[in-house]
């Protein structure tokens, strides 16, 4: 047996266990999605999970890497679940597979696999699909309580795998609300009507809103918040990133809302809509692609939050968490470089070259 280096003891949570906790923590949010948006959520998750493992195994085989050990780190499953939870419930099956395939093969393994990817793989897959198929990717169903005829399991399967209902009905019919109009997500609805010149008060009259924010969506977000708090409490994710992102969202939304409550959505609507909580606790906190320094994590989170609101409000897409996260993934090396902590025995923080002395040099 080779001699091992110190320390000879450890108290760690292995990577696989970390990933299992993340998977577990998605349950409340996932359950809310399932309750409000039906079987499609489950089918998306299963499709993503199955194909993520298949793609991961395939590329590990091609790369001549240990297959079983790597599959058991659960990282591919986490990517699959995060992407699956982001997809609209009736998305055609091949789009789902394309998304997860791109996430695993391109965003993860072409950069070197777990630990080496600069971008969050699930968000890369999501953005690829969003840019390529904007119509399908924004075609969310109304929450089941508002749907004129909620899709059954059979109908859902039919839609996902054939593109139309069992009786030849179109996706638009399924997407119709109780009032007979096609329904959008609260953020999408807000954006569209805002574009049409409606005032906030008028927009919020729509049945998609109710309670704290959007019907259904508020519960989905509260579910992810609950799971996220568990992860933060277990120190599996950096609470700084999550908190910073929520602060970023709140502050930026409050600024706009404060300027004109008639033209902009309230911070609360933003906090409990779309991918806010999923993003804050499960996406932005992906350690591999996030900033690693304490100060850097604050900057990273605040930046994502603020950018999310700016894109949601002024950009072309209703939601923006994925774009904001990817943009800040890109900024991570720079953020980390300039936010190095002050090391013991040094006057200045790391990036100030003035303090840098080579080994052996006299001061």
């Amino acid at each position: 047996m080779p001699l091992q280096s110190s320390p000879h003891t450890q108290d760690r949570m292995p990577v696989s266990r970390l990933m299992q906790w993340v998977l577990l923590a998605t349950l409340p949010g996932a359950l809310a999605l399932f309750v409000f948006f039906g079987w499609g959520v489950l089918i998306n998750l299963l499709l993503c999970a199955g194909f993520a493992l298949a793609f991961e195994a395939l590329i590990l085989w091609l790369r001549d890497r240990p297959i079983k050990a790597t599959l058991l780190d659960y990282s591919a499953l986490v990517t699959a679940v995060l992407l699956g939870l982001s997809l609209p419930p009736l998305l055609p099956w091949w789009m789902t597979i394309l998304g997860i395939g791109f996430a695993i093969v391109f965003a993860k393994h072409l950069f070197g696999g777990l630990g080496f990817n600069p971008f969050n793989p699930a968000m890369v897959g999501y953005v690829l699909l969003l840019i390529s198929f904007p119509a399908q990717m924004t075609a969310w169903l109304p929450p089941q309580s508002l749907a004129a005829n909620p899709a059954s399991l059979w109908e859902t399967l039919h839609f996902i795998f054939t593109g139309s209902g069992p009786a030849g009905e179109t996706i638009e019919q399924i997407r119709a609300g109780l009032d007979g109009f096609t329904m959008a997500t609260p953020l999408d609805h807000f954006k569209t009507n805002q574009g049409l010149g409606f005032r906030t008060e008028e927009i919020l009259d729509s049945p998609v809103y109710g309670g704290l924010a959007g019907v259904g969506w508020q519960w989905v977000n509260l579910g992810f918040l609950a799971g996220g708090l568990l992860l933060a409490f277990k120190k599996i994710i950096s609470w700084r990133i999550s908190l910073a992102m929520l602060i970023g969202i709140t502050v930026m939304a409050a600024l706009l809302w404060g300027v004109d409550t008639d033209a902009f959505a309230s911070p609360l609507l933003h906090l409990l809509s779309g991918a806010t909580m999923l993003g804050a606790f499960f996406i932005a906190t992906d350690p591999i692609t996030a900033a690693t320094t304490r100060k850097g994590r604050w900057i990273f989170g605040l930046g994502i939050g603020a950018l999310t609101i700016l894109i949601r409000t002024f950009g072309g897409y209703p939601d923006a968490v994925a774009f904001a996260v990817l943009l800040f993934n890109m900024a991570v090396p720079t953020i980390d470089y300039y936010t190095r902590p002050r090391v013991y025995g040094h006057q200045k923080s790391g990036h100030k070259k003035a303090g840098h002395k080579k080994f052996g040099e006299k001061s």
Partner: protein, 522 residues
């Protein structure tokens, strides 16, 4: 003096590994039967020593057998009486696994002492005390083995002596036991060190998990009527690190590249202070130390007074060791694995840890770093271990240095928590040694270049000098010739020769007149 009056500060990071102290801390320090053969490395951690005895020579217990010659070497004394059996190249108890010359001493069982004359530290001169500490071969017993006579001989003003009694490594209890049983002697050693240093303040830094030791020390301090501030610090690894303990007790940081003495602080381990007392008051050189022998594989774990040079195998036999998964000298956080139980106890040996299989996790498969930052959260030096790991892995040593790799104290807290089971400390040691090697290479290259330039200059100078000499000699010759009139004679002879040549040419142009010597040719 109000107890615990010192305002404590906190150092960042740190971990709380299971302490495992009670296994060995509850029995008194015991003696061990004399080993038959002792092996004394002549290349100690701090530097080489020159043997002063011949093979076959009989030595007495405490006799100086090897002299420290290097700048930071310490003397070596015979731990027991016996015969020098030889000097052999043997593997040393050192993380590098290097071999070195070891003096083999066969014990005769007589234990005949050769002590130094006792000194009265109240009256003796400072230099006499320092010389004695050197003559007794005392090195820091906390683990680093730095010669105490050098540490105490500094002339810079010192205002604080810190007694390091933190003993933050899990399993190790030798300082704890020493304080419980020999507190008065430790305090006497402290007073000697304080006298030598001429400092005002003495602080005892001790972790709060040693209440019995704290009580014993407090009592000894009261009896001795010296002012020692007792600072009971919260148990957190690595509070016993020199830099960390200074930070806890003073709130100050040792500037990078400097020593505590630059801040007017000297730190001594309790075991070292005890050894200083024995050397001065009792005239005993450092020939033994207290070693914690522990781990689930040990039947009778505890602390033992062990002669230097005792093979670890002897310790294992005498404490009833069963099957162990590995042997570690030191604690589980910073100790190193021993390749061979035949290796001897040295001045730096504070603990022999023999865990049963499964007691301590073995290094598993190293997984990719997921940049979770758990390492950065526990780093007491506020480094970014994950970045250092990437740089070390990629061979980007400049960047590693820029990220302050050299300020890493190798405490192992980062690897202790790493979810990917990455042997981070191993990477840092590798990168540090590369940086040192490169620095030395650079020094060598600079030196070689200097020498080369100097040689070229010298050759050039010699060439110029030679030229100068030749020129001068020529001038001198010419001058001499001119002075003697030889020059005119020479001129005349040249002119005569020229005339002869001209005359010959003239004759050749005129065929009537035969060339002189033409008839001789025919």
């Amino acid at each position: 003096m109000p107890p615990d009056a010192i305002r404590l500060h906190e150092f960042p990071g740190g971990v709380h590994p299971p302490e495992h102290k009670s296994e060995s801390s509850e029995t008194p320090i015991a003696a061990l039967p004399l080993p038959e053969l002792l092996s004394l490395p002549l290349t100690a951690r701090s530097g080489p020593t020159t043997p002063l005895v011949e093979v076959g020579e009989t030595v007495r217990k405490g006799q100086l057998i090897a002299e420290g010659k290097g700048a930071i070497s310490v003397h070596l004394h015979a731990p027991t009486s016996g015969t020098v059996e030889g000097i052999r190249e043997l593997p040393l108890p050192h993380p590098s696994g290097l071999t070195g010359p070891c003096l083999l001493l066969r014990a005769d069982g007589e234990e005949t002492w050769e002590k130094l004359p006792p000194l009265d530290w109240r009256t003796e001169a400072r230099q006499i005390l320092l010389d004695r500490i050197q003559d007794a071969g005392i090195a820091g017993l906390g683990g680093a083995s730095f010669p105490s006579h050098i540490k105490l001989a500094i002339t810079a003003p010192v205002d604080t002596l810190i007694i390091n009694a933190a003993e933050c490594e899990p399993y190790i209890t030798c300082d704890d036991r020493l304080m419980r049983e020999r507190a008065a002697e430790i305090i006497e050693g402290t007073v000697i060190a304080k006298t030598v240093l001429g400092c005002e303040r003495v602080i005892l830094g001790i972790e709060d998990n040693k209440p019995a030791a704290i009580d014993a020390m407090r009592e000894a301090i009261d009896t001795a009527e010296v002012t020692v501030e007792i600072a009971v610090v919260p148990t957190k690894y690595p509070s016993g690190g020199e830099k960390q303990l200074i930070q806890i007790l003073t709130g100050q940081e040792v500037p990078s590249g400097k020593l505590p003495v630059d801040m007017g602080i000297v730190m001594q381990n309790v075991g070292t202070l005890y050894a200083i007392k024995r050397a001065i008051v009792d005239g005993e050189p450092l020939i033994s130390r207290v070693v914690t022998v522990t781990g689930e594989a040990i039947d009778r774990p505890g602390n033992y007074e062990v002669l230097l040079g005792t093979p670890f195998s002897h310790l294992l036999e005498e404490t009833g060791a069963g099957t162990y998964s590995q042997l570690i000298m030191g604690g589980p956080m910073m100790g190193f694995e021993l390749e061979d139980p035949a290796m001897p106890v040295i001045k730096a040996t504070n603990c022999l840890l023999a865990p049963a299989p499964g007691e301590l996790p073995r290094q598993g498969v190293e997984l990719p770093c997921i940049r979770c930052g758990a390492c950065a959260n526990v780093c007491p030096a506020s480094l970014l271990p994950q970045q250092l790991y990437w740089f070390a892995r990629a061979g980007e040593f400049d960047k590693a240095e820029e990220h302050r790799l050299m300020d890493c104290i190798e405490c192992g807290a980062c690897a202790y928590v790493c979810p990917s089971d990455i042997p981070l400390v191993h990477y840092y040691r590798y990168a540090k040694s590369e940086i040192r090697t490169r620095f030395l290479d650079r020094l060598k290259a600079d030196h070689a270049k200097e020498r080369f330039d100097a040689r070229n200059q010298r050759l050039e100078r010699l060439k110029q000098e030679r030229k100068e000499r030749h020129k001068k000699a020529q001038e001198a010759r010419l001058k001499q010739a001119r002075d003697k009139g030889e020059l005119d004679e020479k001129k005349a002879s040249i002119e005569a020769a020229l005339k002869r040549v001209e005359a010959k040419k003239a004759r050749q142009q005129d065929p009537a007149s035969p060339a002189p010597g033409a008839d001789k040719e025919s």
